[in-house]
Amino acid sequence: MIDCPSSATDSITNELIEKIRRVINLKEKIKIIGGGTKERLGRKVVGKPINVSENRGIITYDPAELFVTVKSGTPIGSLEEVLKQHGQYLPFEPPHLGEQATVGGVVACGLSGPSRPYKGALKDYLLKVRIINGKGEVLTFGSQVIKNVAGFDLFRLMAGAQGTLGIILDVTFKVLPLPPFSTTVVLEKNATEALRFLSIIAAKYFPLSASCYYNNKLYVRISGYEKSVRRAEKEIGGDILANDHQFWNSVKERTHPFFINSQRLWRLVLPQAAPLLPMEGEWFFDWGGSQRWWKGEEDNREAIFRWARDQGGYAWCHDKEVTLASPLDTALLRIHRRLKEAFDPFGLLNPGRIYEEF
């Protein structure tokens, strides 16, 4: 069990809180910076930079309790290292996209890795978050237990809010034991066949933990007890992929050749079995077909946003400098604006990061 006894580290949190409060009192706009690894994952924020990465360290970790409480500036990689030493992990496999990536940045961006369709998303593993809101108040929502229905679940709301609702001070994650055994099979399929095949195997009780498709190859990872994994592997078929850890890491960290040198990259989140985009280009499917990356010539952003919406999904467009998300309809936008006001009445925190309007 790890408890953070040192008052020195607490004084760093307190200093940070004081600093943020000072800036808030002056009603200055704030640009929150964790590891600074993904400026380009949202819109440009203009504001006084507040770096939260010094606020680091594990506060509590008791493996038998399946949770860990950690300060937001902690590098996500170092947290994962500690968990691994105890045979545990963050089952949503967060992308780091750089060594500096912090826990706060990962939560703020709400991103999950290849295991997402089978093990759940980041928000499914959030139990508690302590934040500073735009009034300078320090607030805690959630608790270290998985069943807690007291009050609104404002902690999950922080996942994906990109720092627009509050500055995250520390986070409690639910963790799980690492699966004892894992393997990946590769099958030759075209895109349509791959999607169909994925639906079929997902409806069986196989311990799947990741699946992606690229260039006529379907990759399926299976994780669990060796005996069950071996049987699933046989029933699914295909060839075994050597070095599969490296492969999935390249998918998670976007270092796979598909992602290199992309001027403009589209990310579409769709129902698993949604049809192919009716436009020419290069595809990479992750999350069993739900997360689709696309590189193509199409310049009509609105057309792609509309297409994704018609399929019951949405899209991100990563350009060199900025990421734009599918527009929100009027009612949803109004709700977002009012929520922003409820947390940050003066509009100080990361203004305009996801949408211009809040």
Binding site: A64, T140, D153, L157, Y225, L270, G313, L332, I335
Partner: protein, 494 residues
């Protein structure tokens, strides 16, 4: 115990009723007192309020008409699903209406390809799994009330069940909803892909106890039925040993599909109710369900039995077939009716604690029970620390109810003290407005109020539930209001 808010706009009640009767089919509006009394409470029968009217619309357009009339006349709305809530969430508000969604009871689509179900809010939890069964799929959240409670209510309460530990709560199994805002706009939140742009509103709405919007459709994740499920039951001489075994099983890397404890008082009650063969000499039984592929279930059963023996189990029962497994579960599921047979009344508490505190908390509860001279039985979701102490009492004895309440409060205080929560699955509703002040600070409660106002500025949706007023917290004695500086001083306090 609870002071009802007085509605200011009562002068227009008859005008309001006229408007409803004018715009809706006659059979959809109930306003005769004897018929209204059916709706005067939910599963928490201690609170009863007669609503002004009950409306049972059939179409979304009718809900819109109702909303607009309510807005015009300032009449509060309490949405009702199955009415099985245990915290008074669906208790009417005086001078308000109950909006029953029982006619929105269609399964709109079972999509085995994307493994989702699209349903109306009045569909029961059980109906979803039944409709998905032909495809080998099911809906994982399984509150014990699943034959009667509705998906709308599950979403509002973020309901859980025996399978939560492994498969998550309602929030982890809802992919999208359609919601009517109090302004009468339909918003789509979330999507089948599992992620939507902007903030995660879906997580905000799930568990918001009908205070932020009216859920009119839900898209639910369906899971493949496990190949095999086995139940291992360990019988212990000591409830502390059973509690410690829970932590050991989890620490070994196994995540059981269910992990439940029943203590002596409950075992005895159950044995005299149905005979399942638990040794009545046992001080506690630990039920551990393992599911998955055959191979992993075999492996895990073996490991769990080993741990149980190491931790002092005197006897171990493993279900040999599906029939036996269901019979053993029946014992667990009969705990509440069985308790009802050994005591004229009982009060079922609901709180969550970290697993490592189980032994300590159970011991403290026993001490408190002795102090209050009340019997407490324990049957609970040990795997996720969600405890349900059953305080047995007799309402006909003068003063006993007050003692029960006071003991209940002490138990919740204990839950918060060890880092848990005042409610694990039943919600706050009217019942736990006081204890909310134990778990949250003044600023946190104010933040909840700001969220409520962001989505429901005139407080028409289920007003007075789930979030205590600051005044109430001050009365509860847990929160200090400095120099009379109360936020929203203009809002009525109750």
């Amino acid at each position: 115990m609870f002071k009802q808010r007085k509605i200011k706009n009562s002068k227009n009640h008859s005008e309001f009723l006229k408007t409803l009767l004018h715009s809706l089919p006659k059979e959809e509006v109930i306003y005769e007192p004897e018929e209204l009394s059916v709706y005067e409470c939910d599963g928490l029968t201690a609170f009863r309020v007669l609503p002004l009217a009950v409306v049972i619309p059939q179409k979304i357009e009718e809900i819109l008409v109702i909303l607009s009339a309510c807005k015009r006349f300032g009449v509060p709305i309490v949405v009702r699903g199955g009415g099985t809530g245990l915290s008074g969430g669906a208790t009417p508000v005086e001078g308000g209406i109950v909006l029953s969604l029982s006619k929105f009871n269609q399964i709109l689509e079972i999509d085995p390809i994307n493994q989702v179900a699209r349903v109306e809010p009045g569909v029961t939890n059980m109906q979803v799994s039944q409709s998905a069964a032909p495809y080998g799929l099911y809906f994982a959240p399984d509150p014990s009330s699943q034959i009667a409670c509705t998906i709308g209510g599950n979403i509002a309460e973020n309901a859980g069940g025996i399978h939560c530990l492994k498969y998550g709560l309602t929030v982890n199994n809802v992919l999208a909803i359609k919601m009517l805002t109090v302004e009468g706009e339909i918003v789509s939140i979330g999507n089948v892909g599992g992620e939507s742009p902007g903030c995660d509103l879906l997580s905000l709405i799930v568990g918001s106890e009908g205070m932020l919007g009216i859920v009119i459709e839900a898209t639910l994740r369906l899971l493949p039925k496990p190949e095999c499920a086995k139940l291992v039951v360990g019988c212990f001489d000591d409830v502390t040993e059973a509690s410690k075994t829970v932590s050991q099983i989890i620490a070994s890397g196994i995540v059981p599909a269910g992990l439940e404890i029943m203590d002596k008082l409950v075992i005895e009650a159950v044995q005299s109710y149905i005979q399942v063969g638990f040794p009545t000499s046992a001080a506690a039984v630990l039920l551990c369900e393992l599911d998955g592929m055959f191979e992993e279930v075999e492996e895990e059963c073996r490991l769990v039995e080993q741990i149980m023996i190491q931790m002092g189990a005197k006897e171990i029962i493993r279900s040999k077939n599906e029939e036996e497994r269901l019979l053993l579960w029946k014992a667990r599921k009969s705990a509440f009716p069985a308790a009802g047979r050994i005591s004229p009344d009982y009060y079922c508490m609901d709180g969550t604690i970290p697993r490592k505190s189980l032994a300590f908390v159970l011991k403290r509860i026993a001490e408190l029970a002795a102090q209050y001279n009340l019997r407490v039985g324990n049957v609970f979701h040990a795997g996720d620390g969600n405890i349900h102490p059953l305080i047995l009492y007799d309402n006909s004895i003068v003063g006993e109810m007050e003692r029960v309440e006071s003991l209940g409060e002490k138990i919740l205080e204990l839950c918060v003290e060890v880092g848990g929560s005042i409610t694990g699955e039943h919600g706050v509703g009217l019942e736990k407005l006081g204890p909310m002040c134990l778990q949250f600070s003044l600023e946190e409660i104010q933040q909840f109020h700001r969220i409520k106002r962001a989505l429901d500025p005139d407080a028409l949706l289920n007003p007075g539930k789930a979030i205590p007023t600051l005044h109430r917290c001050a009365e509860f004695g847990k929160m200090h209001v400095h120099q009379g500086q109360i936020a929203f001083a203009g809002i009525e306090r109750f």
